[in-house]
């Protein structure tokens, strides 16, 4: 629906990727847990500032198979909630010169939905305009408890409730 609603708009110029990178990093007291997803869909509409992400939860790869199993089965329940999504806007579009190569600070505001729980978020990042592409980067933290992901007390020292999310995407221009 998010993508459909974006696609129904009149595009001056849109940019997409199907191989976006998202990293999840938890620095617990006992161990560090990292998972990487390199199959993230993202789309950006230059005319409106609309920015959407669609993330398949089962595409996150952990170093340890057991952690991946627990992530999918116990924490994000990926059979029940297969996707995480973000739908929002770059709110400072006037600060970006898409015709001029350079790195621009961006502020993104919208709804992040994980495990069926939608939360308003506002984060900063960068857009690098380079050779007709947009390289988007952001690093921010979320609280697992905000998304109904509870950590059993037995492993509370292994997994931090405060998780760092790193986003790295290369958006290619699509000509309509």
């Amino acid at each position: 629906m998010l993508i459909l609603s974006l696609s129904m708009g009149a595009f001056a110029q849109k940019y997409i990727t199907k191989t976006g990178y998202i990293r999840f990093y938890s620095a617990g007291e006992i161990e560090k847990i990292e998972a990487i997803n390199r199959q993230v869909n993202a789309a950006f509409d230059q005319s409106t500032g609309d920015l959407v992400f669609k993330v398949l939860m089962k595409s996150f790869v952990f170093e340890k198979a057991l952690m991946q199993d627990h992530f999918n089965e116990n924490y994000v329940e990926s059979d029940k909630y297969p996707n995480a999504t973000f739908a929002g806007k770059v709110v400072n579009m006037k600060d970006i010169s898409f015709g001029k190569d350079g790195v621009y600070n961006i502020t993104v505001q919208g709804k992040l939905t994980i495990k069926g729980v939608a939360k308003d978020v506002k984060q900063t990042g960068t857009f690098e305009v380079k050779d007709g592409k947009i390289l988007g980067k952001a690093k921010f933290n979320i609280l697992l408890s905000d998304y109904s992901i509870s950590i059993p007390s037995a492993v509370s020292r292994n997994i931090s409730n405060n998780v760092e999310i790193t986003v790295d995407i290369v958006l290619d221009k699509v000509n309509n």
Binding site: I3, L4, L6, S7, K14, I16, K18, T19, R38, Q39, N41, A43, K54, V55, L56, M57, K58, S59, V61, K64, A65, L66, Q68, N72, S78, D79, P82, N83, V170, V174
Partner: protein, 144 residues
């Protein structure tokens, strides 16, 4: 040696052995070897894509998290950083080509890049789901 001491040492050895076994086989268990495992389903890329686009909820229950073998005509090979992706295309949408995208295991990257569009291939991979544009298979291997 006193009997109670023998029992204590025996229990300690048993405990340490159990802890090592749990660490090796449970905590540190390896990821499944998707290349060697037998596929749960064997169908064409078109059938898999049509299943998800026709009934997403049922297909998620049936195919998500399963090892799937596909036989069909390849449309293209894409590369992105270290990824090599075999793509079967069945539709056009806002994300361009839509269909089934199969990310190869690194050991197949080189051979996958020699595959010719239009040729029929048999490929096996772990299905992570449908993102409203494509069905995604990961850890893919070419089946002879």
């Amino acid at each position: 040696m006193k009997t109670w001491l023998k029992i204590l040492i025996g229990l300690a050895v048993l405990g340490i052995t159990a802890a090592v076994l749990v660490y090796v086989f449970v905590y540190n268990k390896p990821h499944p070897d998707y290349e060697k495992l037998e596929a749960a389903f064997s169908l064409s890329p078109q059938e898999l894509y049509s299943a998800y686009t026709g009934n997403k909820v049922d297909s998620q229950k049936k195919y998500n998290g399963q090892l799937i073998e596909l036989t069909g005509a390849l449309n293209k090979i894409e590369t992105a950083d270290s990824l090599v992706i075999a793509v079967f295309v069945f539709n056009q949408g806002m994300f361009g080509d839509e269909g089934v995208r199969c990310t190869m295991l690194p050991k197949y990257n080189q051979v996958a890049q020699t595959l010719q569009p239009g040729g029929t291939i048999k490929i096996k991979g772990y299905c992570t789901g449908f993102n409203d544009t494509d069905v995604i298979l990961e850890q893919c291997s070419l089946v002879k």
